[in-house]
């Protein structure tokens, strides 16, 4: 049986549309748009520059393996919000940097540059546990005014969410990513002063500040 020329092109068109629809059915896109609360605690006495590169601000994870559906996970906007909020509350002064190492303001004592090292996730079907899980690993870099590396440390974040009735896989995964990002913020906030090099930097700064405040008192006493 031979298709007429026009009829065959119609069949080809329908096949193409069906194939596209089938491919789209197996492709998932998750866009995370989180807003995060400001941390509560004592601010560290430092003027810090924060450089969030374009790769970081527009980070998107893409996975297309044989044993999984195709996934595109866009966490750039959410992690930009998170790092801006958390770092903005951690120090006495935080300056967002549009470029680095060019045009660095003179009063900046430390520059923090985060990078995403990896993102992983598992589905309930894969682990046979009724939860969606996400891991995100960040490489954190700290530089001084001259661009010398002061410290490098890693933040590992974990988030999970239980499967819920009538919730799509995309929504569940977005929720797990939000939990992971909150965890990243918590680890950044509570772990910063535990990095030995940064601990030393903070101790020096606090010593310098306490000496500065004690000098006028001493002068008055001698007078």
């Amino acid at each position: 049986m031979a298709f007429p020329k026009k009829g065959f092109s119609e069949v080809a068109k329908i096949t193409l549309i069906l194939a596209t629809l089938l491919a789209a059915a197996c492709a998932h896109t998750v866009r995370v748009d989180g807003q995060y609360p400001q941390p509560v605690g004592t601010q560290m006495p430092l003027t810090v520059g924060v450089y969030l590169s374009e790769d970081f601000r527009k980070y998107s994870y893409h996975e297309d393996s044989e044993d999984r559906d195709e996934w595109t996970i866009d966490t750039g906007r959410a992690q930009k919000n998170l790092f801006e909020t958390v770092l903005g509350s951690m120090f006495t002064e935080t300056i967002p940097l549009a470029s680095y190492p060019q045009n660095l303001p003179k009063d900046v004592e430390l520059v923090i540059v985060p990078e995403v090292r990896e993102l992983q996730f598992t589905m309930p079907r894969e682990t046979r546990v009724n939860i969606f899980e996400v891991w995100i690993k960040y490489d954190m870099h700290a530089y001084d005014q001259q661009g010398n590396a002061i410290a490098n440390w890693v933040i590992t974040a974990y988030g999970k969410t239980p499967t819920a009735f009538l919730k799509s896989r995309e929504d569940a995964l977005a929720q797990a990513i939000n939990v992971a990002l909150r965890d990243a913020g918590a680890t950044l906030y509570t772990g910063f002063a535990k990095v030995p090099e940064l601990q030393a930097l903070l101790a020096n700064k606090q010593r310098a500040l306490s000496m500065k405040t004690s000098v006028p008192t001493d002068t008055t006493a001698t007078e």
Partner: protein, 221 residues
């Protein structure tokens, strides 16, 4: 008439659930005017998670400002105290609470909330077994499903009540609920759902109310 029939149908369509509540009390609840209670879910375990909707359910049932119980919603509290009550940073023991109180800003905020009790709920509801099968077909004459399905749900929750001001464990209570749901299908599937988690929530909320307001409970009895 229609409403009564609807309610009756809903009652009949519920599967059976049994709930067992146990309690260990070290001291009676003392809620003064302006005091508040926070109910939080434990989320540090890797293989289960205390469901946020259960925490919300217990909080909603317990919240009764007229009786003197003011419950702070979980998300509002966790956001206001960020990052100290996240799954990996939340205090697991009362001693850890002392470390947290060493941060002046955290102490001030907790005092501003008027927190008297922190109730930690740990546990989950799981489907333990299922059996049966339902088949659906569609044809020129119409569509329909035939078969029978059944599954068991189990809830296992434990609540620890911390007296935030006195820094002591006031007591613990547990709620174990079990129920079997059925779904016969003769053309249309009819779900007879056992509301295991909801019943565990109701049981825990009632017990917590007795715990926090013992005088109120005595007056009622």
């Amino acid at each position: 008439m229609v409403r009564a029939l609807f309610v009756l149908t809903l009652v009949l369509l519920n599967g059976c659930t049994t709930v067992v509540i146990d309690e260990y009390r070290r001291s009676n609840g003392e809620l003064a005017k302006g005091d508040s209670v926070v109910i939080l879910g434990r989320r540090h375990s890797s293989d289960y998670e205390t469901e946020p909707d259960l925490i919300e359910c217990v909080g909603n049932k317990l919240n009764n400002p007229a009786l003197g119980v003011k419950v702070i919603p979980e998300q509002q509290f966790v956001d206001a105290m960020y990052p100290w009550f996240e799954p990996r940073t939340a205090p697991l023991h009362l001693k850890s609470l002392d470390h947290l109180m060493a941060v002046p800003e955290v102490r001030e905020r907790l005092e501003a909330f008027g927190v008297k009790y922190i109730v930690w709920i740990d546990g989950s509801t799981e489907t333990t077994s299922s059996a049966g099968s339902i088949g659906c077909s569609i044809g020129t004459a119409g569509a329909g499903c035939f078969g029978f399905g059944t599954w068991d749900n189990e809830s296992d929750y434990e609540a620890s009540v911390w007296d935030f001001r006195d820094r002591e464990l006031s007591g613990k209570l547990s709620a174990d609920a079990k129920g079997t749901s059925y779904m016969p299908a003769i053309v249309i599937p009819i779900p007879l759902i056992a509301r295991v988690q909801t019943n565990a929530c109701k049981g825990m909320a009632a017990q917590l109310q007795q715990f926090l307001l013992p005088n109120q409970a005595n007056n009622n009895s």
